[in-house]
C-alpha cells in the first residue's frame, strides 16, 4: 500500500553523532547538549522526554535543521545537514521533514484542505488528489475540508496539522508537544492518530513531550537530562515512563 512500509527497518532516517550545543559565551555560556549520539531508524515512533532545561527541545531543533549544533554532525536520509545553506535546508524541509506544533500553526484564512496541501503548493508539486483524500479520511476530516481553523475544535485543528505533515510523505515527522494545548481526551485521540500513521504508512516520527501517557505510545523513549541521553528504552507503560522520569529528574 505504501512504499515506506516495505523499506527495511534497519535503514536510518535521522542520525546525530556527538552533537553538542552551547548558547552564549564565556561565563554565561550554557551547554544545552553535551555530545548526543542517536540513530532513528525508519518507521520508528520515538519520544524524547526530560525535565525542562534537559535539552530535549534543542535536540529536536537540531535534528530538524532548525538550529545548528556547536559540534557534531546530523544526517537526514543520509545527507549531512549541519553544513547546508538556507536554500538547501528549504529544499530539505520540502522533501524530508514534516512538522506538528503545539499551537497547530494553521493559516486562519485557509480552509482545512488548503492548509493541508500548502506544503505541496509551496514546493510547486502536483497535488495527488487520491492521497489527499486518503489522509483526510484517515484524520477523520472528510466532512470538514471546507472549514476554516476558527470553525474547528483544537483537536480537529491538530488533525489538520497532522494531515499537513503527512501530505508530502516526509522522511521524518517532528512533533513538538502535540498534545500540550489539548485536553487529555483529545490528546489521546491525536496520539492514536500519530500511532496509526506510524503503523499504516511507516511514518518515522520524533515527538518531544513531557506527558508520560504520550510517551507511552512511542516505540522508543529517549530520556534527556543535562544535555545527555541518560536512558534509551523500548516501548513501555505510562506508569513506567513516569517512574523513569522521576528517576531521571532525581539524578
Amino acid at each position: 500500500m505504501n512504499a515506506q512500509a516495505d523499506t527495511p527497518l534497519n535503514s536510518t532516517a535521522v542520525a546525530s553523532t556527538d552533537v553538542s550545543r552551547r548558547y552564549g559565551e564565556g561565563d554565561a555560556a550554557v551547554d544545552a547538549l553535551r555530545g548526543v549520539t542517536v540513530d532513528i531508524p525508519e518507521g520508528q515512533f520515538t519520544a524524547v522526554m526530560g525535565p525542562s532545561g534537559s535539552g530535549k527541545s534543542t535536540l529536536m531543533h537540531i535534528l530538524a535543521g532548525l538550529d545548528r549544533p556547536t559540534d557534531g554532525s546530523v544526517t537526514i536520509a543520509g545527507r549531512e545537514i549541519t553544513t547546508m545553506g538556507d536554500q538547501e535546508l528549504t529544499l530539505l524541509r520540502r522533501e524530508h521533514i514534516g512538522f506538528i506544533f503545539q499551537f497547530f500553526n494553521l493559516l486562519p484564512m485557509l480552509t482545512a484542505e488548503e492548509n493541508i496541501v500548502l506544503p505541496l503548493r509551496l514546493a510547486g508539486q502536483k497535488v495527488d488528489r487520491a492521497w489527499v483524500d486518503e489522509i483526510l479520511g484517515k484524520v477523520g476530516l472528510d466532512d470538514r475540508r471546507e472549514h476554516r481553523p476558527a470553525q474547528l475544535s483544537g483537536g480537529q485543528q491538530q488533525r489538520v496539522a497532522i494531515a499537513r505533515a503527512l501530505v508530502s510523505k516526509p522522511t521524518v515527522m517532528f512533533a513538538d508537544e502535540p498534545t500540550g494545548n489539548l485536553d487529555s481526551h483529545t490528546g489521546e485521540e491525536i496520539l492514536g492518530l500519530m500511532r496509526e500513521s506510524v503503523e499504516t504508512y511507516g511514518q518515522t516520527t520524533v515527538m518531544v513531550t513531557h506527558d508520560s501517557r504520550a510517551a507511552a505510545m512511542a516505540d522508543r523513549i529517549l530520556f534527556l537530562a543535562d544535555g545527555r541521553i541518560v536512558r534509551d528504552q523500548a516501548q513501555t507503560s505510562a506508569a513506567d515512563v513516569l517512574q523513569a522520569m522521576n528517576e531521571v529528574s532525581g539524578q
Binding site: 538550529d67 485557509l110 509551496l122 476558527a150
Partner: protein, 617 residues
C-alpha cells in the same frame, strides 16, 4: 498563492482599508489634478478658438489677453489699420480696443472674485463677431454696452437697464442693450467681458487714435499664413502679426498656463503629502504586520517556504494594496475633478465647463504607477525583514525578530530628525527660506515652501518615531482619571452579565490598550492642529500639507491602536495562562484583575513593546 494573500488581506479588512486610505487620497489628487488641468486647457482653447474663429490675421503690440491685472497691452497707432488695409489680399481690417474695466451697480464694482480679468472690448463688426446674443443686440450707438451671460445672470441684469461702467475717466452711465454667450462655454473662467462701441472705448480708456488689436479678414482664396507674412513685411517688427489660430493657441497656453500653474502646484503639493504619508503608513502597517506574523512566516518556512516565497508574499500584498488603492484613487480623482468644478464655481472662480476628459497618461497611468510604486517601495523593508524570520520561531514561545539597526538607534535618529525638521520650519517661517535659497538657488517663494514642506515631513517622521517613547509617559500622567473611569465601567460591566465579553479579562486588557492609543491619538491631533495653525499663517500650501500630515498621523496612531487591540486575541493562540491568572486574581483583588491580565497578555505577546506596563497601571 495570490488567493491566499487576497484572503489574508480580507481577513484584515479594517487594517487594509486604513492602509489604503492615504494612497487613495494621493492618487485621487494626482488623477483629479490632471483631469482638471486638461479640462481648463480644453475650455480656454475652445473659448479662444471660438472667438478668433472669424479672424484670419490679428495684429497686436504684445500679449493682449493676459490674466495679469497690470496694464493692458500697449496699443498700436490707429494708422496701422489703414496700413494694413493697403496690403493686397486684405478684405477687411478693423481696429479693436481691449482695456480693463467693468460694470458698477449702486457704486459697487461687479467684477470677478477669483482673480480672472475684468475686460472691456470694443465690439467687433458682424463679420468678426463669433458670439451669440441671448437677448438684445450688439452695441451700435455710443453709450450702449453688452455683457456676457454669467455677469448678467450673477447680477440680475436686464436688457434696457441703466448701469455704470468703470473707465479710466470715472464711472460712465450706460445702457445695457445685449447679453451674449461665446461658443458652448457658459463661463469665461470667471472673467467678465463688457462690450462697447469702438469710439466709446477709445474715449473712455485713453486710446484716442489708437487700437489694441487690428483684426483682419482675408480675400477669398488668400491663406491666412500668406497674408500674415505679407502684413508683417508692411508693418515691421514692432507689431506682432499672427493668424487667428496662432493667436488663440498662444492665449490658451498663457491663460490656462497661469491658472494651471497655480492650481497644479497646489493640488500636487496635497497629492505629494498624501502619497508620502501613504508610504509611511504602509511602511508602518507592514512593519507591524510582519512583526505580528512572525510565527506565521516561521511556520511557512518550516513547511517548506523559501525566503523568496516569503518576500514575494509580503510584496504581493503590498502590490495588491497599492493596485486597489490606486484604482479607487483614480476613480475618486475623476469624481474629485467634478467636485473641484463645483467648489471653484461656488468660490466665484468659475472654471469654463468643458466636458470632463481623462488624459490616460497623466490621470491614469501616472497615479497608478505612483500609488503602486510607493506601496511596493514602502513594503520592501518589512518584506526583507520577514525573510529573516528564522524557521525556529514557529516552535519558540514569544520569538521575536532581531531588532533592526534603525530600531536600536530609534531615539537618537528621531531626535536628530526633529532638530533638522524644526530647523527647516524655522528657516521657512522666520527666515523666508534663505538657507534653502542659498543651498539650492530656488526663488524666494519656492525656498520658503520647500523649507516648510521638508520641515513638516521630517517633523512628521520624527513624531511617528518618537510616538512609542511619548505614548507611555503621557498616558501615565493623563491616563489615571481615564483609567479610574474605565475600571469603574468594568466593575459595573461584571455585574451586567448580559453584556457579552465584558466580564472577560481579555476585554479588560483591551481597555488599557485602548486608553493609551486613544489618548495618544488625541494628543497627536491637538499638537498637529497647533502646527497646522502655525503653518497656515505661513501660507496655504504648507498649511494644507501639514493638515494632511496631521490628520494622517492621527489615523496612523488610531490604526496602531486598532492593531494592538487585534493582537489581544489571536484566535489561533489562546493564552490560557493569562486567562487562568486573571480568574484567580478576580477572586482576590478585583481592581487589579484587568491590569494583571493586560500585563500577562501584552508581556507574553508583544514582548518588548510594553515592558513596564504594570508599573503605572
Amino acid at each position: 498563492m495570490t488567493g491566499v494573500i487576497l484572503r489574508g488581506l480580507m481577513g484584515r479588512k479594517l487594517r487594509s482599508v486604513l492602509t489604503m486610505l492615504s494612497i487613495v487620497l494621493g492618487t485621487a489628487m494626482i488623477s483629479g489634478t490632471f483631469v482638471v488641468r486638461d479640462q481648463i486647457t480644453h475650455a480656454f482653447d475652445s473659448i479662444f478658438t471660438e472667438s478668433n474663429q472669424k479672424i484670419d490675421v490679428i495684429l497686436t503690440k504684445q500679449t493682449a489677453f493676459t490674466s495679469d491685472n497690470g496694464d493692458q497691452a500697449g496699443p498700436l497707432p490707429e494708422s496701422v489699420v489703414d496700413q494694413v488695409k493697403g496690403v493686397p489680399g486684405v478684405k477687411v481690417a478693423e481696429g479693436q480696443i481691449q482695456a480693463l474695466g467693468g460694470i458698477v451697480i449702486d457704486g459697487e464694482f461687479k467684477g470677478s472674485t477669483g482673480g480672472a480679468p475684468n475686460l472691456v472690448l470694443s465690439w467687433p463688426s458682424e463679420q468678426f463677431d463669433s458670439t451669440t446674443f441671448v437677448s438684445g443686440h450688439p452695441p451700435s450707438q455710443d453709450g450702449e454696452v453688452v455683457v456676457n451671460k454669467q455677469l448678467a445672470d450673477d447680477n440680475h441684469l436686464k436688457v434696457g437697464q441703466r448701469v455704470g461702467l468703470a473707465t479710466s475717466v470715472g464711472v460712465k452711465q450706460v445702457t445695457l442693450v445685449g447679453v451674449y454667450t461665446l461658443g458652448g462655454a457658459t463661463s469665461l473662467g470667471g472673467a467678465t467681458i463688457v462690450g462697447t462701441t469702438f469710439h466709446d472705448a477709445q474715449q473712455w480708456y485713453d486710446r484716442v487714435g489708437k487700437a489694441s488689436t487690428v483684426n483682419v479678414l482675408a480675400e477669398p482664396g488668400v491663406s491666412p499664413v500668406a497674408l500674415r507674412d505679407r502684413i508683417q513685411k508692411v508693418v515691421g517688427s514692432g507689431v506682432r502679426v499672427e493668424t487667428g489660430q496662432q493667436s488663440a493657441d498662444r492665449q490658451t497656453s498663457e491663460v490656462a498656463g497661469s491658472i494651471n500653474g497655480f492650481l497644479t502646484t497646489l493640488l500636487l503639493a496635497f497629492a505629494g503629502a498624501s502619497v508620502f504619508v501613504g508610504a509611511f503608513i504602509i511602511f508602518n502597517t507592514f512593519s507591524i504586520t510582519v512583526g505580528q506574523r512572525t510565527r506565521e512566516f516561521a511556520m511557512l518556512r518550516t513547511i517548506g517556504a523559501s525566503r523568496r516565497q516569503v518576500l514575494r508574499a509580503v510584496l504581493s500584498e503590498a502590490l495588491i494594496v497599492g493596485l486597489i488603492a490606486s484604482a479607487i484613487g483614480i476613480l475618486a480623482g475623476i469624481g474629485f475633478a467634478k467636485l473641484l468644478n463645483i467648489l471653484f464655481d461656488s468660490a466665484g472662480f468659475g472654471l469654463p465647463t468643458a466636458s470632463i476628459t481623462v488624459p490616460i497618461l497623466w490621470s491614469v497611468l501616472l497615479p497608478l504607477a505612483v500609488g503602486t510604486g510607493i506601496a511596493l517601495l514602502a513594503a520592501t523593508g518589512p518584506a526583507f525583514r520577514a525573510t529573516r524570520v528564522p524557521p525556529i520561531a514557529a516552535l519558540r514561545e514569544g520569538a521575536e525578530l532581531p531588532q533592526s539597526w534603525m530600531g536600536r538607534h530609534a531615539l537618537p535618529i528621531a531626535v536628530g530628525v526633529t532638530v533638522v525638521g524644526v530647523g527647516f520650519i524655522v528657516d521657512g517661517i522666520f527666515n523666508k527660506g534663505s538657507v534653502m535659497h542659498a543651498a539650492t538657488g530656488f526663488g524666494d517663494t519656492a525656498s520658503t515652501l520647500v523649507s516648510l514642506a521638508v520641515g513638516a515631513v521630517l517633523c512628521f517622521m520624527a513624531v511617528a518615531m518618537l510616538s512609542r517613547y511619548v505614548v507611555r509617559p503621557l498616558s501615565a500622567v493623563i491616563g489615571r482619571p481615564v483609567e479610574i473611569v474605565g475600571l469603574g465601567l468594568q466593575w459595573v460591566g461584571r455585574g451586567v452579565s448580559a453584556i457579552p465579553l465584558v466580564g472577560r479579562p481579555v476585554r479588560r486588557a483591551w481597555y488599557a490598550v485602548t486608553r493609551d492609543y486613544v489618548l495618544a491619538s488625541v494628543l497627536f491631533l491637538v499638537a498637529g492642529g497647533g502646527i497646522t495653525f502655525l503653518l497656515f499663517k505661513a501660507g496655504v500650501v504648507p498649511g494644507a500639507i501639514a493638515l494632511v500630515i496631521a490628520v494622517a498621523g492621527g489615523v496612523l496612531l488610531v490604526s496602531r491602536w486598532w492593531k494592538a487591540r487585534e493582537s489581544e486575541w489571536p484566535p489561533e493562540k489562546p493564552s490560557r495562562q493569562a486567562g487562568r491568572l486573571a480568574r484567580e486574581n478576580t477572586a482576590r483583588n478585583t481592581s487589579r484583575t484587568a491590569v494583571t491580565a493586560a500585563a500577562m497578555m501584552i508581556g507574553g505577546r508583544c514582548g518588548r513593546s510594553f515592558p513596564r506596563f504594570t508599573r503605572w497601571a
